[in-house]
C-alpha cells in the first residue's frame, strides 16, 4: 500500500483529467444509488462554496490550467490581458480536457474568473457548436459590510436552489459542512508539519495534500493516514520561503523555487489556502454565506493593508526566512500589495513581477537572497 503522501501526490497528478479521480468504491462510474447519473460539475475560483456541491451529491472538482499546453482558444476569447491561468482553463474546457461536464460553476473570486464566466456564457449563446456545458455564476462579494453580507446570503440561497433543481433532491447541508470542516481541521494539522523546523513537507507536496481533487470523504481518510504517518516524513532543510500573490493551479512555480534549495513553508493563494482552518460550523446557509464573505484575504479581493497584516502574521507563524511575492502577467493585484507587505515584514522580501504562467524568473531572488544550500 502506498503511503498517504504518495496517494495524495498521485491523485494530484491526475486531478482535472478527463476522468476525474473518484473513490475506489464508486470509481469508473458516475451512477447514483438509484441508477441515476450523478451530475459532474467543474468549478472555477476560490470563492465557490464547495460544501453546497457536496451537499447536492454531485461529483465536483476544481478546474485547473496547464502551462505546458497551448492556450490559443483562451487567448482568442478572453484576450491577452486576462490572467493566463483562466485562458488555459477556457482552452482546456473547449478542448474537452475535463471530460463530460454537466455544469460549470464559476465564482467571482477575481476578474479573470468573472471574465471566464462571461466568455462561457456568450460562447454558449453565439457559438453553440462549442458544446459547452451550462455555466452558472456564484457572485460572492467581499466588502466588509452588512450590505454585502445580505447580498451574499441571497446568492448562496439562489445557488442552493439551483443545485436542488439540477439534482432533483434536497441538499444535505449539515453533513457536507461537517465533512468540509473536518477536512479543514485536518489540513490545519498537516500544515503544521510543513511549519515545523525542519519542515516535514515541501511546498510542492503541500499543494498535492491541500487539493488532490478527491471527494471530501476520501480526502479526509488520506489526511488522517498522512498524520498517522507523519513520523516517517522526510525533513526538508532548505531556506524557508513564504510565497505570496498569484494563484498556482499547477506545481510548476513551486518546483522551480524548491529546485534551487528553498522550501516553501506557507502561501496566501487559494490553492494552498490562506485560512484553511476556520470552520463554517452550524448555522446552515447563513453560516456558509458568512464564511465565504470573510474568506481570504486574497490578492484579488483584499486591500493592500489587509494583505500586509496577514503576511506579517503568516510569515511569523511559518517561521519563514524570505518572503517572495509572485505576480503573474495579467494578474497584477499582487504587485500592488507588495510595498505594504514589505514594510510590514521583518524578513527580506522580493517581488517577482510580470511572470509568465507556470514559470518563475528567479533572478531577483537569487541575487538578493541566495540560498545557502
Amino acid at each position: 500500500m502506498p503511503t498517504a503522501l504518495a496517494a495524495l501526490e498521485e491523485a494530484y497528478a491526475r486531478r482535472g483529467a478527463a476522468r476525474p479521480p473518484a473513490s475506489p468504491a464508486s470509481s469508473a462510474s458516475s451512477e447514483g444509488p438509484a441508477g441515476a447519473r450523478t451530475p459532474v460539475v467543474g468549478y472555477v475560483g476560490a470563492d465557490l462554496p464547495v460544501e453546497l456541491l457536496t451537499a447536492a451529491g454531485v461529483r465536483a472538482f476544481r478546474l485547473t490550467g496547464d502551462p505546458e499546453s497551448g492556450s490559443a482558444l483562451g487567448d482568442r476569447y478572453l484576450g491577452l490581458g486576462v490572467d493566463p491561468m483562466a485562458r488555459s482553463v477556457l482552452t482546456r474546457l473547449l478542448d474537452g480536457a475535463f471530460g463530460d461536464l454537466d455544469h460549470v460553476v464559476v465564482s467571482h473570486d477575481c476578474e479573470a474568473s468573472l471574465r471566464l464566466f462571461y466568455a462561457l456564457r456568450e460562447l454558449r449563446r453565439v457559438e453553440p457548436g462549442t458544446r459547452l456545458p451550462e455555466v452558472y455564476l456564484v457572485d460572492i462579494l467581499h466588502l466588509p459590510h452588512r450590505t454585502t453580507a445580505r447580498y451574499n446570503r441571497r446568492r448562496i440561497g439562489e445557488f442552493a436552489a439551483r443545485l436542488e433543481a439540477w439534482t432533483g433532491r434536497p441538499l444535505d447541508l449539515a453533513g457536507a459542512v461537517a465533512a468540509h470542516d473536518e477536512r479543514r481541521r485536518l489540513l490545519a494539522a498537516v500544515a503544521e508539519l510543513r511549519r515545523a523546523v525542519p519542515a516535514r513537507l515541501t511546498g510542492r507536496q503541500f499543494l498535492a495534500v491541500a487539493d488532490p481533487g478527491l471527494p471530501v470523504d476520501e480526502h479526509i481518510a488520506l489526511l488522517e493516514r498522512l498524520l498517522a504517518e507523519a513520523g516517517r516524513l522526510e525533513e526538508h532543510t532548505g531556506r524557508r520561503v513564504f510565497l505570496s500573490g498569484s494563484d498556482h493551479d499547477t506545481p510548476h512555480v513551486y518546483e522551480a523555487v524548491e529546485s534551487e534549495g528553498y522550501v516553501i513553508v506557507g502561501e496566501d493563494h487559494s490553492f494552498g489556502g490562506p485560512q484553511p482552518d476556520r470552520p463554517v460550523g452550524a448555522g446552515g446557509l447563513d453560516a456558509l454565506a458568512e464564511h465565504y464573505h470573510h474568506s481570504g484575504p486574497t490578492a484579488h479581493r483584499a486591500t493592500a493593508g489587509e494583505r500586509a497584516a496577514h503576511a506579517a502574521r503568516a510569515v511569523r507563524h511559518c517561521r519563514a526566512e524570505v518572503f517572495v511575492a509572485y505576480s503573474r502577467i495579467g494578474d497584477e493585484a499582487p504587485a500592488w500589495d507588495f510595498p505594504a507587505q514589505r514594510a510590514a515584514l521583518d524578513v527580506p522580501a522580493v517581488l517577482l513581477e510580470r511572470q509568465e504562467y507556470g514559470r518563475a524568473d528567479l533572478t531577483a531572488l537569487r541575487k538578493e537572497h541566495p540560498c545557502a544550500v
Binding site: 479573470a112 462571461y118 456564457r121 453565439v126 455564476l137 447580498y151 497584477e332 500592488w336 510595498p339
Partner: protein, 415 residues
C-alpha cells in the same frame, strides 16, 4: 497632429470646465469638503448635497492630454507600485504622491477628503484604498456585482423597465449602499440630503440625457456627418461631469441645437465623406488628433464614440423611487459597455443606426471582452481593426498604428 474643434458648444464646455475648476479650488481652499469620484459611481448624491467633486477619469484624461501621464506613473513607480497596471486610475493616484501638486494641470488636483469608487476588477479598490491611507482621505468603496442571466436588449428596457434589465439582487445591494453613503456624508460633512432636491437632480439628469439622445439620433441619420468625435466628446462629456445641474441640461440642449443648425445648413465634418468610422474604447486622450487624421486623405470620419451614445442610452432612468432609479443607473453601468451580450449587441445596434463603414477598436490590457465585440460587429458585416494600447499611457501607443489604419481603410473599408 492637434485636433481641431469647430463647435461653439465644445468651446463653451471647455471654458466652463476651467472656470468650474478654478472655483472648485477656491471652495476647497475655503475648507469645503472635496470628493474624488470614479466615473461610474452615483455623482447625483454629491450634486444633491452640494459637495464639490471631480471625476478621476476626467482628471486622468486631462493629465494625458497635457502629455503628463508618464510623470504621474513614475511617481507611482517610485512608491513601489506597478506603473503598468490600471493606468486610468493609477495616473490620478500619482497626483497624490506629487511633491509639487500645484505644478499639475490647471494648478493641480486638490487633495480629496473622500474618494468613492466601485470595487471592480482586482485593482481599483486597492488603488483608491492606498490613497485612502493618505492623511485626511477616506475611501468609500461600492461593490461591483454580477448577474447570471440578463435580457439582451438593455437599451430598450433601461429607461422604464430597469428592474427587469438589472435584476433585484444588484439593485437591492446598491440602493442599500447608497442609503448608507448618504448618511456617511451627512455625518462627515454636516451637509443635508434633501429628497426634493434629489428628485430635481434626477429629473435634470434625465432631461440632459434626453437631449443627448436626440443629438445622437440626429448625427446617426445625417450624411455627411455634421461633426466628428473631436467635437462630440467634449460637448457631451464635460457636461456629463456636471449632470444634475441646469447648466449641464441647458448646454446639452444647445449642443443639440448647434448640431441641428449644422445639419440644416449642410455643414459637415468632412464634406467629402466616404467612410463613417466607429471608435470603440476609451478616448485616446493623448492624441485626439488621431480622430481627424484620416479625413483629408481618405474621407474617413469618426462619427461615433461611446461617449455620446452611452449618454443617449445608458443614463436615462425614470421611476417613483429616485434612490432605486439611481442605483439602476450604476448597478450595471460598465456591463453596458464591456460585458457581452449587452456590450456586443449594443455596438451592433449603434453601428447599424449610424451607417458605420468600419470600426476601430482600442483594446487595452484590462479585461474588457473585446473578442465578442469584434465578433458581433464582423458577423453583422462591419469590418473591425484592433489597436492595442492604453488610452492614457502614451508609452503603449505604437508608431505604426496610423499607417496600419490607413492601409486598412484603403484595402478593406474603401475597397
Amino acid at each position: 497632429m492637434r485636433s481641431v474643434k469647430s463647435l461653439a458648444t465644445a468651446a463653451e464646455a471647455g471654458r466652463h470646465q476651467r472656470e468650474w475648476f478654478a472655483d472648485l479650488r477656491r471652495r476647497v481652499a475655503a475648507d469645503e469638503p472635496f470628493a474624488l469620484l470614479n466615473a461610474d459611481v452615483p455623482h447625483e448624491i454629491f450634486r444633491t448635497m452640494d459637495i464639490p467633486y471631480a471625476v478621476s477619469q476626467w482628471w486622468a484624461s486631462l493629465v494625458a492630454a497635457k502629455q503628463r501621464s508618464g510623470h504621474y506613473l513614475e511617481l507611482v513607480r517610485q512608491r513601489g507600485y506597478p506603473d503598468y497596471s490600471e493606468q486610468y486610475n493609477a495616473v490620478t493616484l500619482g497626483s497624490a504622491f506629487d511633491p509639487e501638486p500645484e505644478a499639475g494641470p490647471w494648478g493641480g488636483l486638490p487633495k480629496p477628503d473622500i474618494i468613492v469608487g466601485e470595487a471592480s476588477g482586482d485593482v481599483t479598490r486597492k488603488v483608491f484604498d492606498i490613497w485612502g491611507h493618505e492623511p485626511g482621505v477616506t475611501f468609500y468603496p461600492l461593490e461591483s456585482a454580477a448577474e447570471n442571466e440578463v435580457p439582451v436588449n438593455w437599451w430598450e428596457l433601461m429607461p422604464h423597465r430597469w428592474e427587469q434589465a438589472v435584476g433585484p439582487a444588484r439593485l437591492d445591494l446598491l440602493t442599500a449602499e447608497l442609503e448608507n453613503l448618504v448618511r456617511f456624508l451627512e455625518t462627515t460633512t454636516g451637509r443635508r440630503f434633501s429628497e426634493s432636491r434629489f428628485r430635481e437632480v434626477m429629473a435634470l439628469v434625465n432631461e440632459q440625457e434626453e437631449w443627448n439622445r436626440k443629438t445622437r439620433d440626429l448625427i446617426a441619420r445625417t450624411r455627411p456627418a455634421p461633426l466628428g468625435v473631436v467635437d462630440s466628446i467634449p460637448s457631451v462629456m464635460l457636461p456629463q461631469w456636471h449632470r444634475g445641474t441646469e447648466w449641464a441640461r441647458d448646454i446639452a440642449k444647445r449642443f443639440y441645437e448647434e448640431v441641428r443648425e449644422r445639419v440644416d445648413t449642410g455643414q459637415a465634418a468632412c464634406p467629402d465623406e466616404r467612410a463613417r468610422l466607429m471608435w470603440i474604447g476609451r478616448g485616446l486622450w493623448y492624441d485626439m488628433g488621431f480622430y481627424q487624421r484620416f479625413q483629408d486623405e481618405y474621407g474617413a470620419v469618426f462619427v461615433w464614440s461611446m461617449y455620446l451614445a452611452i449618454a443617449a442610452d445608458g443614463y436615462i432612468r425614470y421611476g417613483d423611487d429616485p434612490m432605486r432609479a439611481l442605483a439602476a443607473r450604476f448597478a450595471a453601468f460598465t456591463d453596458q459597455l464591456y460585458t457581452p451580450p449587452w456590450s456586443s449587441e449594443w455596438y451592433v445596434k449603434e453601428a447599424r443606426l449610424h451607417g458605420i463603414d468600419g470600426v476601430v477598436h482600442l483594446v487595452s490590457d484590462d479585461p474588457r471582452g473585446s473578442y465578442f465585440t469584434a465578433r458581433a460587429l464582423e458577423a453583422a458585416g462591419f469590418p473591425v481593426i484592433e489597436i492595442h494600447a492604453d488610452n492614457v499611457d502614451a508609452r503603449t501607443f505604437g508608431d505604426e498604428v496610423v499607417e496600419r489604419v490607413g492601409r486598412w481603410l484603403e484595402n478593406v473599408v474603401l475597397a
